[in-house]
């Protein structure tokens, strides 16, 4: 618990540092274009990795093929078409429930 608390505290401090970086300390510094490009790629690279880790793996081992894979694919298609949080959530949870009931 103490270690977990420390982890969360350090993550919080580091995150505030990142958020405040350019609006306070470095207000007069412009981000070099190459770094800005790299930062703009953080979200797609990390988030796709997180999808891989949470959908296809379970505690580091392969998740057996099943409803989660299918519902994940449906959710990804809905997200692509609608680009909406709400519809993706509804489609994803809806299809996982439907498939669980069906299979």
């Amino acid at each position: 618990m103490a270690e977990q608390l420390l982890v969360v505290a350090v993550v919080a401090a580091g995150t505030l540092g990142l958020r405040a970086s350019m609006v306070t300390l470095l207000a007069d510094v412009t981000i070099p274009p190459r770094l800005e490009q790299a930062l703009s790629l953080v979200a797609p690279a990390v988030l796709a990795g997180l999808v891989a880790q949470t959908l296809f793996l379970d505690h580091g081992a392969w998740r057996p093929f099943g409803t989660w894979y299918l519902a994940g694919a449906i959710a990804a298609m809905v997200a692509w078409r609608t680009r909406s949080f709400g519809w993706t959530l509804l489609a994803g949870m809806g299809s996982v429930w439907f498939l669980e009931a069906l299979l």
């Binding site: 608390l5 420390l6 993550v11 609006v23 703009s40 680009r83 949080f85 709400g86 959530l89």
Partner: protein, 256 residues
Amino acid sequence: MSEPGNAGQGSGGWLTRASLLAGARAMLPLSIGAFPFGLAYGVTVVESSMNDLLGVLASFIVLAGAAQLAVSDLIDQGAPWFVVVGTALVINARFMMYSGALAPSFRQYPRRWRVPLAHFMTDQSTVTSLLYNAGQRDPRRRLGYYLGAAVSFAGAWWLGTIIGVVIGATIPPEFQFGFAAPLMFIALAVPSIRDRAALVAAAVGFSVTLMAKDAPMNTGLLVGAATGIAFGLLAQTRTERPSGGAQVADEERSDG
């Protein structure tokens, strides 16, 4: 655009109720989306070996859904602390970019406001505010709008988290609430793919994370993300080159 907007002039006139409400109202659809995701995060925390109260605390002091979910996932897997911290900060590195994008408007705000305001920076509040700022030059309006949007969004996230943690233990496994974690990442990842470079970064990040699943100390995601960013940059360089079309065509011919 000159509505009176003089109600509730506190704090030396920096905040007007009208601009706060305008921000909150513009953010409403996104806040409605944040609530179920907060709920899902709360349930995930209950199901993981992360302490429940700490999971709630994280929503207040970290205030970043993707990083929070990764933290609870990695803690659950027993990853060492520096890997948990490192992964979370890599996920949140994008805030540096947002900070740069918001800096021109933040420079107009009183100095003491800047850090507290920065804490409420999220993907959603940044994008919403940048859109508003493009057509609004008055710093007071901008500040109120940002605050209204960002804090109402955070409020929905907090409420969702708290309810999720409270009811998490009572939700039967048939409800498949664990699926909410990958679902949340899908809903965030897909719209982040806006061009070819981002697509390359996502595809490589995805595949390498899976390939590196047995990497020591749960560093698979870090390795995957770093490789994805590197390949995305490469793809960007390749698409940028065709400034002189004939020259590129020549190069391609000599390559083949």
